[in-house]
């Protein structure tokens, strides 16, 4: 599998929370190559099923990676300029001077997030972060045209193609969490060559960035025996500090803490050790901030693990990811799944 090409395609496809139609088609096409069946569920989650070889007790492991991305929605107009509301956790610090696409009902319009030329700034302006409600989106059209083309509620997405950096690193938007969607693709492809007892239900979830709606509903529908949420985590980068950040190219992180069933965490660590795969332990004292937080308490409770891919500059248009970490994450998942058996299932309630 060409992981780079897949990451690029997934990053550059639009799919704002609640409006995942386009990205879902891409995910189903990609995952569909390696599984027995695919479907779209009621809330729009992409579901791919790869059957295990077990004849009797059919156990199911769910892999959850969200496919939605953060963005904006048109909230108002003035003199042909647009005000927008955030969809998900927008970082206002990176917005001035950013290019966007306004997805109007008629057509996509290129746009710019306004910024003030330094000539017009007062000295103390420069130290203030401009909040989203003070920024305009400029589509360069006359007010009458804007009123004709654009409606309140139209979506606005960040325009950013993937940039290839040195050492094979990629920079772009929405690697949160398309990097994990790609890792699941790697896993599904590997599973063709690995004997696995359990059915694997891969879900690309909707609306993680807003409410994690997709994770809760899909876990309810699938009722898996165990689940792994795969999401990005904070990468070490210039200016980062503390123990919440993890270096790129040292493999995936394995979450440990209340959100994670201890046997799931242990099983993931052992799987990494079996194949001598670089991995890092990520302590999470409370919510993991992933789909896993909701999945854990679906129905009577689902044993959950969390796997992370280090990402620099999360929630900016220049998120940086290592395709090698994506590949390693896929390998870790496949190895873990290959090792699942009845004994493991029983250990979950010991």
């Amino acid at each position: 599998m060409d992981v780079n090409a897949l990451l690029k395609k997934l990053s550059q496809t639009t799919g704002l929370s609640g409006y995942e139609t386009k990205i879902r088609a891409e995910v189903l096409a990609e995952w569909g190559r390696f599984v027995d069946e695919t479907r779209t569920d009621k809330v729009g989650n992409a579901v791919a099923v790869k059957r295990g070889y077990a004849r009797k007790a059919h156990r199911k492991i769910m892999l959850a990676s969200h496919m939605d991305e953060i963005g904006f929605m048109v909230a108002g107009f003035s003199h042909g300029f647009l005000r927008v509301s955030p969809i998900g956790g927008i970082d206002a610090r990176v917005l001035p001077g950013q290019e966007v696409i306004v997805h109007s009902r008629q057509r996509d319009l290129p746009g710019i997030i306004s910024s003030t030329p330094p000539h017009l700034l007062k000295p103390d302006d420069r130290s203030k972060v401009i909040s989203l409600d003070q920024l305009w989106i400029d589509v360069g059209l006359a007010p009458a045209q804007v009123n004709r083309f654009v409606s309140i509620g139209d979506l606005v997405s960040i325009r950013r193609d993937v940039t290839e950096l040195k050492n094979g690193l990629l920079a772009g938007k929405a690697f949160d969490n398309r990097a994990s969607v790609a890792a699941v693709a790697v896993c599904l492809e590997l599973l063709a060559t690995i004997q696995h007892q359990w059915d694997v239900i891969a879900v690309a979830t909707v609306q993680e960035e807003t409410s994690a709606l997709g994770a809760a509903t899909s876990a309810f529908g699938i009722a898996p025996d165990a689940a792994i949420a795969i999401d990005v985590t904070y990468g070490v980068q210039y200016g980062s500090a503390g123990n919440e950040v993890f270096p790129l190219d040292k493999g995936p992180t394995i979450g440990i803490g209340p959100n994670m069933q201890p046997k799931m965490t242990q099983g993931l660590i052992e799987a990494a050790q079996r194949i001598k795969l670089d991995h890092q332990i990520e302590p999470m004292a409370g919510s993991s901030g992933t789909d896993g937080w909701l999945i854990q308490v679906v129905r009577e409770g689902i044993p959950t693990g969390v796997v992370g891919i280090p990402l620099r500059s999360m929630h900016t248009p220049v998120e940086v990811v290592s395709p090698r970490d994506v590949e390693q994450t896929g390998r870790l998942l496949a190895e873990f799944i290959g090792g699942l058996d009845e004994k493991f299932y029983e250990s979950l309630t010991e």
């Binding site: 306004s114 910024s115 017009l120 360069g140 050492n167 920079a171 980062s240 503390g242």
Partner: protein, 349 residues
Amino acid sequence: MSLTTNLKALSEANGVSGDEGAVRKIILNAIRDHVDEVRVDTLGNVLAIKRARGKATRRVRVMLDAHMDEIGLMIVGANDDGTLQFRAVGGIDDRSLPGKVVLIGPDRIPGVIGTPPIHLAHGDDEVKKIEALAIDIGAAGKDAALGVVTIGQMATFNTRYRSLGTTVSGKAFDDRAGCAVLIELLRGPRLPVDLLAAFTVQEEVGGRGAHVAAYAFDPDAAIVIDATPANDLPPSIEQDVSPNTRLGHGPAVYVMTRSTVSDPRLVKHVIGIADRRGIPYQIRQPGGGGTDAGSIAPTRGGVPTVSISVPARYIHTPVSLINLNDVRHTIELVRESAARLTSTILRPA
């Protein structure tokens, strides 16, 4: 080569002050066959002459100036983690830097200006000064980084030229819009005056190219063609002392900036031409800012100078926006103003 083809090529070329080679190349190719003389001076200015039509012995010699350089970033060092330290060349608002892709040096090495995520800001959402930012090119360490990029190289934003209808967006319309205007004028018919065209270097760091260009040409008068910040976003500003131009309302004629008072005879002449020919124009609010006029006007014994600018939104940021009608009207206004310039007009009042 149409106006928009030139504008796109000029906008996407990288030419930070002092490093204008790529822009110079485009300009030389565009004008070479349409001028009588062209040379590059020691600072890197392109100086071209298009003589007047007819055979009058004493012809008015009009310098037309547009600067080639743009604001940008200079690489000043590398950090241990392989990221690059940088500083601004020209005026840049630090707040427009995070989250952008830049291209560094002649090989256009891509890098990103990242920022630790908002999730980890823990309420500390202060603006990061440029000294606290870094460019990530993916290098694994300091030595690796300096093996790819060298200290002193320039970087610009990786912004593509796009058509939005009547308006277009792209980087560096300040002053590639002016360069495009000047190219069109040179590619057009001869005028009754000598055109002394200067595509200048280093305007953004102090009008240095224009200074020597004006000395070299020793013109009778000068018209500076620049881009001026449009200030037309709602709500309208309360105290109207900053530049006030609006897109789509025609070229901005300068009466005064921080550095220069435009020559009143030229202002009157330009406005008179615009009125007579029905060319829309706007008077740029007097006050701050400046153009190459600040360097040209005091050259030798003094050069009567006026500036005419294309209004541009968001100049000195990663992406600016102009109206093509404004560009066309600027071409027309400069052409007609230059063509009708006579020694009578320039006679001391």
